[in-house]
């Protein structure tokens, strides 16, 4: 018996191919049963996310099973042209290693992201409910979940945010105790400011005030966040009640100056203010950040922190791989005690088509 995996991901296939190969959630159980019938697999599970479609299985003959899976993929999705060039295969220990790396976020588009763990868990549960998994895949997936938890808690692979919006949220959480009781004010609207507000709202930020020169635009953005629109000239009036300001106007000169901010800060009785200046040219004078209880970050600051976090995650890859090797070794010891030592199929390369990484 041998484990086998066939699939594609964001590195091996463009989005046009990935979207055609995706399995809708509602059809996963049925598709898994069809896969078992159409291929030489004894056990099977389909992992389908926006960035990857991968089929894991157990078979007597890995080569035949992989060919069967490829054929199934073409027939199931009614493809008129071959996608073989985008598919990669892993057999045996490489298959185990691949799933562990996927679940730990090492193979993700955003290195170390944690959403993939939930997606793989969902995929496994659906395969289990369809009765498509057995001892080998049950243990393999369970092992991948425990490895992901271990690696996340003992390395920095998932630490620090890698997008501007989430970096802003991280900073807000290190200034304020409870985001739920906080009011966010958007001065001017734009893609990045709305993304940042969305990230804050998703982590529990309470109220949103939108201050826009265009009433119509302001109302559209406010309704998205369940917030309130205020007149552009009224932002200083609302200022004492606001905790987080996201400023993204097209003003040619700073609209938040030390002179204007100093009396407003006095009225706040020592409450902190997180000022996120996304505008270019900047809306806030740099010196505002030197005022007591004011924390000012512009777009470059946020991007720099995101880049540092990405670099910090990348520096953890070697440590993660060492830990993965330990988990892989334990799984393979169990697998071989049950199905015997793997014999490499001479007619096939060990990994028939490794993805570029």
């Amino acid at each position: 018996m041998k484990l086998v995996m066939v699939g594609l991901n964001h590195r091996s296939a463009p989005v046009e191919v990935r979207e055609r190969m995706a399995f809708p959630r509602v059809q996963m159980g049925e598709a898994t049963c069809m896969l078992l019938g159409a291929s030489h697999l004894k056990e099977a599970a389909i992992v389908s996310t926006c960035n990857r479609v991968e089929i894991y299985g157990l078979a007597e003959n890995a080569g035949n099973a992989a060919a069967g899976v490829r054929k199934f993929l073409h027939e199931h999705h009614r493809l008129t042209e071959s996608v073989d060039a985008h598919l990669y295969e892993h057999h045996g220990v490489d298959c185990v290693n691949h799933l562990l790396e996927v679940t730990c976020g090492l193979d993700s588009m955003v290195l170390g992201e944690t959403e993939i763990l939930g997606q793989v868990k969902d995929a496994y549960e659906m395969a289990q409910q369809a009765g498509a998994t057995g001892a080998a895949l049950n243990r393999l997936f369970q092992k991948s979940f425990s490895a992901a938890k271990h690696i996340r808690s003992s390395t920095a692979i998932a630490r620090g945010s890698t997008s501007v919006g989430n970096v802003a949220v991280d900073l807000a959480e290190k200034i304020f105790r409870d985001l739920g009781a906080r009011t966010v004010m958007l001065i001017g609207t734009g893609e990045i400011s709305e993304t940042t507000a969305k990230a804050l709202k998703s982590r529990g930020a309470g109220h949103v005030l939108v201050c826009s020169r265009s009433r119509e635009r302001g109302e559209a953005v406010a309704s998205e966040f369940g917030g309130r629109v205020i007149s552009y000239d009224d932002w200083p009036v609302e200022f004492p009640t606001v905790d987080i300001v996201i400023s993204a106007t097209a003003a040619p000169h700073p609209i938040i100056t030390v002179e204007r901010l100093t009396p407003l800060m006095h009225a706040r009785q020592g409450r902190a203010l997180f000022l996120i200046d996304i505008a270019v040219p900047r809306d806030a004078e740099r010196a505002c950040g030197e005022l007591e209880n004011v924390y000012l970050y512009d777009i470059d600051d946020l991007q720099q922190i995101a880049q540092q976090n990405i670099a910090a995650r990348a520096s953890e890859i070697a440590t993660c791989r060492k830990l993965i090797a330990e988990h892989r070794g334990r799984y393979m010891a169990w697998f071989e005690s049950r199905w015997g030592t793997e014999q490499t199929d001479a007619s096939l390369p060990r990994s028939a088509h490794n993805h570029a990484s």
Binding site: S153, K174, F176, R177, G270, A272, E292, Y295
Partner: protein, 264 residues
């Protein structure tokens, strides 16, 4: 000498804890196991200090608060005790990392910098004396931990202000959380200090042997912290200034206590 062995053991544990603190500040992410070790060193140091205080108490036949060295050890013990109570309650794992260096400093000062000469046994004795001393030092332990929290606040605030984030930035609690913990410790410490002062007044009436420098130190400490409490509750002192007051207030209290001990 057996007593001192416990104290040296405590110093070794706190030194280990302090080394882990430096590593945690630099390591960032992979710090869950470091946190467990950090807490373990504090618990072991606390147990060793308890061993010292127990043996010393047995030898003296009274609460071991008879000289500056014993008082400093008791203060170190109470600061760690408050950490062990406060840290899990607020889920502030990093607080332990900052408590270890303070404990090490107090331990080394007690071992190397202060005289352990036996104080003459006073003619008159009252349990109020021990009550006053013990509650007073416990209050200082709470205020010491408030100073540690203040130090953490200043470090976190500096990172946020300068936008230069340490790898361990995400381990720090939020500024607001640190502010709240610091205020609660200040209120607790001041309340205990007040009870200790009342105990001191009663014991003075009974035994009447407090010296002028010691009385001046106690009154100055109480007035200083009282002013801090009033300013904080009236929101005249907050954020960075409140954190600085907690750090420098505790440092000033310690140094003046040691000086008052020399003068008496």
């Amino acid at each position: 000498m057996r007593e001192h062995a416990f104290l040296w053991a405590a110093a070794a544990f706190y030194a280990g804890g302090s080394a882990l603190t430096v590593r945690r500040l630099r390591a960032g992410g992979a710090s869950e196991s470091l946190h467990r070790w950090n807490v373990a060193t504090l618990v072991l140091g606390f147990l060793a200090t308890t061993g010292f205080l127990y043996l010393r108490g047995q030898n003296l036949g009274r609460c071991p608060l008879t000289n500056a060295m014993e008082t400093t050890v008791f203060l170190m013990w109470s600061a760690v005790l408050f950490y062990l109570l406060v840290g899990p309650a607020y889920r502030v794992s990093f607080l332990g990392a900052f408590t270890a260096p303070l404990s090490l400093l107090l331990c080394l000062v007690a071992l190397l910098g202060l005289s352990d000469a036996r104080a003459p046994i006073p003619d008159k004795h009252s349990p109020w004396v021990e009550f006053h001393a013990a509650i007073g030092v416990l209050a200082c332990g709470a205020l010491g931990l408030a100073g540690v929290v203040g130090r953490m606040y200043l470090m976190q605030e500096r990172q946020l202000k300068t936008r230069r984030l340490l790898p361990s930035f995400l381990e720090f609690p939020s500024l607001e959380q640190l502010d709240v913990i610091g205020l609660r410790l200040l209120l607790l410490g001041f309340a205990m200090l007040t009870v200790g002062m009342i105990g001191g007044e009663i014991s003075y009436r009974v035994v009447g042997h407090w010296t002028a420098p010691k009385i001046a130190w106690a009154v100055a400490t109480w007035v200083g912290y009282g002013a801090m409490v009033v300013w904080r509750l009236r929101k005249m002192l907050n954020g960075r200034k409140a954190a600085q007051a907690a750090v420098y207030g505790f440092a000033a209290m310690l140094v003046t206590y040691w000086v008052a001990g020399v003068l008496r």
